[in-house]
Symmetry: none
Subunit: 264 residues, 2 copies
């Protein structure tokens, strides 16, 4: 998909980017989906512990939709301990915090923490367990924090790549400083109000001529209601011109058509 807006300045060479670690993933398709999500949110380093069906697997590349680089450079490990050996902080995403007595973070808090780490040059790992089994308690105990995604308790079975998606989305928001970045590009300056009033008067004049304001004592409130509804649209100057054209066209164009029909 193409987007013509200027790229937000998110390449931050001052940041040490987190890596994504998948523990014993079963489906190559999920690994490919994770790679795609990593590309969507600007992460590159993928580590895989004991993929069930070996590595590499073609279906992962097929599912990545062109996000090949996390797969091409993925590194494979025998154990979680080995996969995280060089990292400074690891966050284990699990729906079942269990009895590990680790701090529990939301994905948003995890992004805050990861960002702080990244600024300090610390290397963060985002660890996700196998599709069905999740993470072993033993491996969770190797981590610094637990991340839990706030799913509906009635249906907690979140797909592996969807879990990665949410954790990485929060990371992305954090580094974009999303509140500031809230997309203002589509903002169009509303017309100066005298332009708007010109439209109102034009419309009201024509409606008056057409006998629209009836009974006469209601004219003022009817006018007010029309104005209020259009006020809420925040019309631009161009749109004001367009709507004046609409009024003119409805009045003149159709008038002419009627005249023709009636024998001119």
């Amino acid at each position: 998909m193409k987007d013509n807006r200027p790229a937000p300045p998110v390449e931050r060479p001052d940041l040490t980017l987190p890596c994504v670690i998948l523990d014993r993933p079963q489906m190559a398709e999920n690994i490919g989906s994770v790679a795609r999500v990593m590309a969507n949110f600007g992460l590159r380093e993928l580590r895989i512990v004991n993929p069930r069906d070996g590595w590499p697997q073609e279906r992962a590349w097929a599912m990545s939709s062109g996000a090949h680089w996390p797969l091409d450079n993925a590194t494979i490990y025998e154990t979680v301990a080995e996969a995280i050996a060089d990292l400074n902080m690891v966050y284990a995403t699990t729906a079942r915090p269990r009895e590990t007595h680790l701090p529990i973070r939301t994905p948003r808090q995890c992004a805050d923490d990861s960002y702080d780490n990244a600024q300090k040059g610390l290397k963060t790992g985002l660890l996700f367990g196998a599709e069905r089994a999740g993470l072993e308690t033993f491996d969770i105990a190797l981590c610094q924090s637990i991340v839990t995604i706030p799913v509906d308790p009635a249906f907690q079975s979140l797909n592996l790549s969807q879990a990665v998606n949410i954790v990485l989305y929060e990371w992305r928001l954090k580094i974009m400083d999303a509140p500031k970045a809230a997309f203002t590009q589509n903002f169009d300056k509303p017309a100066e109000l005298d332009k708007l009033h010109g439209l109102y008067e034009h419309l009201e004049r024509e409606l008056d001529a057409a006998g629209f304001f009836f009974p006469p004592e209601k004219k003022e409130s009817m006018q007010r209601n029309l104005r209020v509804a259009l006020n809420r649209a925040h019309l631009t100057e161009q749109e004001v011109r367009t709507w004046r054209g609409v009024v003119t066209a409805l009045v003149k164009g159709r008038g002419r058509a009627l005249l023709k029909k009636d024998g001119n």
Copy 2:
């Protein structure tokens, strides 16, 4: 995959839950993934416009991991306009905000808005386009706002169910966090969208008769611009009636006046 847990309990009966609308989804697998994500985040109502491979499709159920209820109750439509006819507000998720001049929201802002709507008893639709093509500009122009997910400009191709995942995750966070806010006063319910579409069609028919859409190849974009400007006004049902009256008055009233002046 089978899931034997009971369907999720209805929480927050005071909220009118948003529905998810998929426009021309290509892959049944993605529809199934969307159902699963809906279950994860507590939404139930799925609407599908023209699924490429027909409906129902077994692969959707297979991919839902037991989240059958959105699929079992999914409703199928021919057009986006039909699918959103009874809704009050629709948010179109697209990576390409283009030139529609609709307000652009982040997923978080969309959740805020949807929550406000839900508290007022307004029915919100969350609209997502086809996997590759996305949404047609014509259909976006039927909506009140655009939602854009802040992906890396270097790799924007977000999987359909991942896009739904993020928008619904923000919804979930919102309803978990939100204090039970006081009911908003002085609130006017926007018309159901089919009423609004009736007004658009009425206006466009008359403008067509008046020769307003010139040159003809610009007709579609001219129509779209008119619709988008009015979309932003959130007209109530009463206002829609009033504006239909305006169109009729401009066309007929003045036509008659002209006829009189010209010698009847």
